[in-house]
Symmetry: C2
Amino acid sequence: MVEALEKLVESLSRLPTIGKKSAWRLAIHLMERPREEVDTLAENLKNIKTSITICKECFNYSEQDICPICSSQSRDTGVLCIVEKPMDVFTFENAGRYKGLYHVLGGVLSPINGITAEKLHIRELLARIDRRKPCEVIIGLGAGADAETTSLYLARLLEKYDITITRLARGLPAGMELEYVDQLTLAQALNERTSIPYGEKTS
Amino acid sequence: MVEALEKLVESLSRLPTIGKKSAWRLAIHLMERPREEVDTLAENLKNIKTSITICKECFNYSEQDICPICSSQSRDTGVLCIVEKPMDVFTFENAGRYKGLYHVLGGVLSPINGITAEKLHIRELLARIDRRKPCEVIIGLGAGADAETTSLYLARLLEKYDITITRLARGLPAGMELEYVDQLTLAQALNERTSIPYGEKTS
């Protein structure tokens, strides 16, 4: 009907999680916003493709050769957290508890999809460990099948270094009621049960 | 961390239904798309603010003075459907069953928010009915309190014309199981119960 709107809807509905109806709602919302706001969004979109590159150290997105986290003076350089993708760095940073460095693998092993160890930034990880000698490496991958395999693969690979290798705990997610927990999660939560921190504040 | 990404996230999270986390996910998705695709989205955004205006006849968005629906030869000009906003025209068109014309009110009556009859395109609606003499006017507003009030107001206002005035049926939404239906909907569905179309195909 309205070609300019339909073109925008078409573009928006290519985005993940945005269906045709949401795209229409967004397009019509944008129609009703001041022109400057829409132009700012358009400019910000174009800028990501021109000004962002990959950090040479951790392979996260960055505007400089070395990203602000890798070059920061206030991070704990003794701890290195291996994550799958840039989004995961945001998730960690957003939680605000982690103060070490990251290493973005660029995926997880998935031989069926042709993703072998050579396609990930594993060689660079080993070189980085040799160079920086962290005292702990946290394998910060998810709990899917491929991620678990990759965690085991990395743990094996890092065995030879004299560093602590850890991975994220498995167990009940916060707020979960026991009756809704699946068997595998419950089994893992039981397996990795911990003592109750007596007298400590839980937060 | 990455300023260009953060600026985009900031812009995206101003959009309705898009929180900070979704905005990050979208921004990182866009980072990974080819440049042309991102530029097209940016261009399409800018275009809506430059090329779209309001149809002088029905007040829907349009690139021409008179929108394609109002100027179409294949629509049923004898039926006029009053809707609240442009999004609703999309919803009707998307369902694909309605072949008449529309009239976009630009809102519903809400005295508490200062939206009185003068702020809506009601005067233009009456002028249009005088001019075009449709045989049926469908009040196609939603089922919220303000929309119901507006429907009643319009029905009263249109009484004096020698035309059929209808509104959308109230009742069970498709696929709804009876046990989940709220009392008001059930009461309305009971009130407006219809005979079963015997021998007709249900679709």
